[in-house]
Amino acid sequence: MPVVLLIVLLVLPVANASTPQQHKDYPQGVSSISPGSDLWREVRQRDLPISGITQVQGVESGVLINAEGDRWARFRIENPVRYAPLVLLAVVAILVLFYALRGKVGIEGGLSGRMVKRFTDYERVVHWTLALVFLYLALTGLILLLGRTLLIPLFGHQVFSLLASASKESHNLVGPIFLVSLIMMVFSFARRNIYEKGDLTWLLKGGGFIGKSHVSGGFFNMGEKSWYWMVILIGLAISISGLILVLPNFDQGRVIMAISHVVHVFGAIILIAVSLGHMYMGSIGTEGSIEAMKSGYVDINWVEAHHDRWARQVKENDEVLSVEEFARLHGRKPEPADNAAGQS
């Protein structure tokens, strides 16, 4: 059987080369059965991959055409490429709508100017390293996933091919840095993100959005903890699947590569979508939140509003800094605005 396949394959180009001449002489066409049709039909349309015998040593080197690969390509075009932009646009639309309706979530009584240390320098470096690397990977990943559909019509093939090459090379190079940052994130934050008593109440009250009563929270609330574990678990899945894709020399077959690709893409889309919400809540969505990752300190009123159990703890331990102490720590004199905030 392999010998027959080989002969047919060798004859195929000759048969194909003669086709245009026949069309010219007989414009109405000539009915003839291509000897290759049956062969390709046999090879492509079987449900299971056919493995032949070959002298080439390697994973799946005996497979002439991988029918699963064709199905995977169709799945890729019909699902992630089609729905990823819709999911991301929907998240952006929800956030814009939420901001328009609710506005910035303020703190009752405003900011006091009296600060509490929330994160160390090292923890913030780890957070921002992961964030920057993630943003870069998200951008280059989206170029690779959606560029063919969205960017070619805008910039043309030449510019896109350049962008795609640059994105692919840098995405592969930067990817492992994400994994290392993720591991650093586990060692820095895991202990404080273990679920505890009271977290479920936070979830049942929708983090304060359901009902009017205050929702109790510790150092991290249920929402923050869930986001953290989502980053770690989906991040690990993305990283491992990315390594399988970028290092194809460990004898992994095409099926494993295709599954890894699906895990990689879907994991990334989920993480990008949820990260938009995280970025919104951590910056313009909630008053005083950005300060935690900027200076490492947060206002005591912010702590009382969102993390009352932790607030009681820092007050008991006398960890609240005055306006003057905080300004001195940051090498500046207290400004009138700081004092005004401190007196309010």
Binding site: L132, A166, E169, V174
Partner: protein, 213 residues
Amino acid sequence: MIEYLIKGPFWYFSLAVFCIGVLWQLARIVFTAGKTDLSVARGSATGGAWRNIFSRFVPHPEIAPRIRMQVIAGYMFHLGLFALLFFAAPHVHFLENHLLGFGWTPMPYWAFIVAAQFAFFGLILLWLRRMLNSVSRLISTTGDHIAAILTFVVMLTGCLALGEGFPALNLLHFFTVELLMIYFPFSSLMHAFTFIPSRAFTGAWFGRRGIDA
């Protein structure tokens, strides 16, 4: 036209600024050395210089736990960049064909990628620490930030051009390298040339006075 300018006149200009600038800065340091020390020596200046050159590669035990991240990130960045600069195949070929006339065995591709990852990771950690630590931020100058960002941009454009299939990406990397070469002699990046003489000078001064530091 742009390719001609970047690979022609601008390359020679940046090379000239780099060479003359570095020599001028080194000469300035040598010729503005302090007065001769006439005091009676309490120890060996030479010994102190050598001791200081090598002892400063390891942080002082008392402060080591507090600066562990900076030390590790610093080594990752500097060793990674050194390996990239002198042992990445495209750089070795460039130095051989355009500057030195001879080359050496470049490192394998996988080592090139690992070195780049070390350099990137180290630089990101160091620059973020500079931005996020209140004391580091206060003592950092605009020049420090420009140097860090320019170095990062050079590394990033090099990373974008890894495929070597697009001349425009190679040209972009080449152009950013030229910008860095022009900026280099007038910035804190000069420490690449001055860190050993600087350590030697301080060590000699300590050694002559019998200071064990």
